[in-house]
Symmetry: C2
Subunit: 351 residues, 2 copies
């Protein structure tokens, strides 16, 4: 771990004492940064995504500007369905869409086998270039969508409030759903492993749609597939699982023993520690909307959060991606509030 | 209570023994019913909403077809912002929209004072006509949106995944937000009282966007306004609060002492009883997507749910509105499964 100039993130993931609480932000390489928008003006989102030089460039921007303790490679969770042969469209002003979604079991045949280096090489190359450019200042985080979350998009075709089509698929075609989840688990696991080999020191799995399934269905469908991903990665690279709207499945997720569990802002930090103890490192979870308030209030809320999570086995983050119209000074205030938290006054907790 | 031929809903809300578990479905007067679509072909949604004869007609359809234990007046939560002067558009294929949303404190001046009978008389008339047409077969439920949920729509203007504009408003303009929530609480409380006076035996408050706020912000913003609504109704009419994505705030909601708390499908029934005991009647919460599965599976899941909630102080329902493409026979299977549950084998629980 000492190979990084700043190894707070890795120390936290191994529950070692830290001089400052590590902090990064989901979607930190994003539209709220003027230097990101400058790149974006010259290239559309798909071009940025598929051009390793551009992806690596924006990956480093928040490290340079904000002094966050980790970089996360600029990419999108839908690169995996794209690698499986689905056409991905990301038009500005709209959310991403997958054309010709999978609506019936026989349509699974349309999905092709993925060869990671061939079909996702552009992401691996972005990881490699970002790793070189970072020059071991901070660790790089690789990522992918969790199988259920990817399946939800692949069946629905685009973001939706209810994802009724995807939920219907589960109940109408349970066997095909299981097959699809299995295939996704294998691809996601291999893809994350390849990102680790390309230079990512940590990987994060985004279960963005945990809230679509009740506890019973989450355990039945989503959890076994996620478990398979974690098995592929076990002993190879530390893994953080982010469960958006997953307050009802925190215990089963912790039982999978990821290194870290990243929480959205609806989870009370004290309550999370009561439920999960120190079995798992926790990450999160300031409401990104709090960054709309003034810096004094941001500091107050941030300190209260850090105090509740505790300074050991904890990584500060937002509870979801930073919102595109966040003032960069407010993002800075958040990072500084975390780094300014008086760690030494808080005795380490034994696991 | 004996004034209704079927008073199971009211008995359950007063935690009295029932011969069968009462059941109704959110959005039960809706597009999944051919007889609803027949009406809808002759009139657009806004016309149905504002024509008491049509609203009353579709209100009765699920009672006639499915034998549910309650009717709920056909309406929309956005009638309240409309009464405050905002223009409501409901185009088919799109969600509802409020034109010219409230984006800054000074825009609150655009909202007019509501005189319930003048501005919401068409809903009250639908309640009256449905009450007459029901002829005391089953109780009628009136409803309204909770203040925070209405504010979220009024600021955002339409449904959104993140409601970032509405969340920004809270943090950027806390005083104006408080004023708006106070005004909404007063209107919603009076409106529900008027629905009770017009014939509704029970009212339900829809907090559809509980999940947008973390526990601290929910307590700070949404809860006091909801409490004010309940205070207006206390002793006048039984109230059920439905909290969508509100798993993190069930305890504070129960502390407001509504008669019933309606849960979405992410809440484990056994867990909910452990957290809340029998202090509050629980309603819910089958995943509406389970109605896409075959009737045998629907019955299995329904019975498991009823068993976990317990047969006393419980109202069976879905965890959200019935989905528009649900086969009516599957809705029927759900209602029959609830009514077929062997209540007598389950001894009543003392509160």
């Amino acid at each position: 771990m000492s190979e990084y100039q700043n190894d707070r993130l890795l120390r936290a993931l191994h529950r070692k004492p830290v001089d400052r609480v590590p902090v990064w932000m989901m979607r930190q390489a994003g539209r709220y940064l003027p230097e990101y928008r400058a790149v974006r003006r010259r290239a559309d989102f798909m071009t940025m995504l598929s051009t390793p030089e551009l992806a690596a460039q924006v990956t480093l921007q928040p490290v340079d500007r904000l002094g966050v303790d980790a970089a996360i490679v600029f990419s999108d969770i839908l690169v995996v369905p794209r690698a499986m042969g689905m056409e991905l469209r990301i038009d500005s002003g709209q959310g991403p869409r997958l054309l010709e979604p999978i609506r019936a079991p026989e349509e699974l045949r349309r999905l092709r086998s993925v060869i990671i280096e061939r079909d996702l090489g552009y992401v691996l190359e972005a990881v490699r270039q970002a790793t070189v450019a970072l020059a071991r200042r901070v660790p790089l985080i690789g990522f992918a969508g969790a199988p259920w979350t990817l399946m939800a998009y692949m069946v629905e075709g685009e973001g939706s409030k209810s994802f009724a089509v995807a939920r219907r698929f589960l109940h109408a075609y349970p066997e095909a759903a299981r097959q699809l989840l299995d295939r996704l688990a294998a691809v996601v696991g291999e893809f994350l492993l390849a990102q680790a080999e390309a230079g990512a020191a940590v990987v994060q799995v985004f279960e963005s749609w945990a809230g679509l399934l009740g506890p019973e269905d989450y355990r039945r469908w989503a959890l076994p597939a996620l478990e398979r991903v974690l098995e592929i990665l076990r002993g190879r690279v530390p893994v953080i699982v982010f469960a958006k709207d997953g307050g009802h499945v925190l215990e089963p997720l912790a039982e999978l023993q990821p290194h870290g569990l990243s929480l959205d802002w609806t989870i009370d930090p004290t309550g999370a520690r009561e439920r999960l103890g120190h079995r798992v490192v926790l990450q999160g979870n300031l409401d990104p909307a709090v960054l709309y308030a003034d810096p004094a209030y941001i500091q107050e809320r941030t300190w209260r959060m850090v105090r509740a999570f505790g300074v050991q086995g904890y990584i500060a983050n937002l509870g979801h991606g930073i919102l595109p119209d966040t003032p960069p000074e407010h993002a800075q205030a958040f990072v500084e509030a975390v780094h300014g938290f008086p760690v030494s006054e808080f005795a380490p907790v034994s696991p």
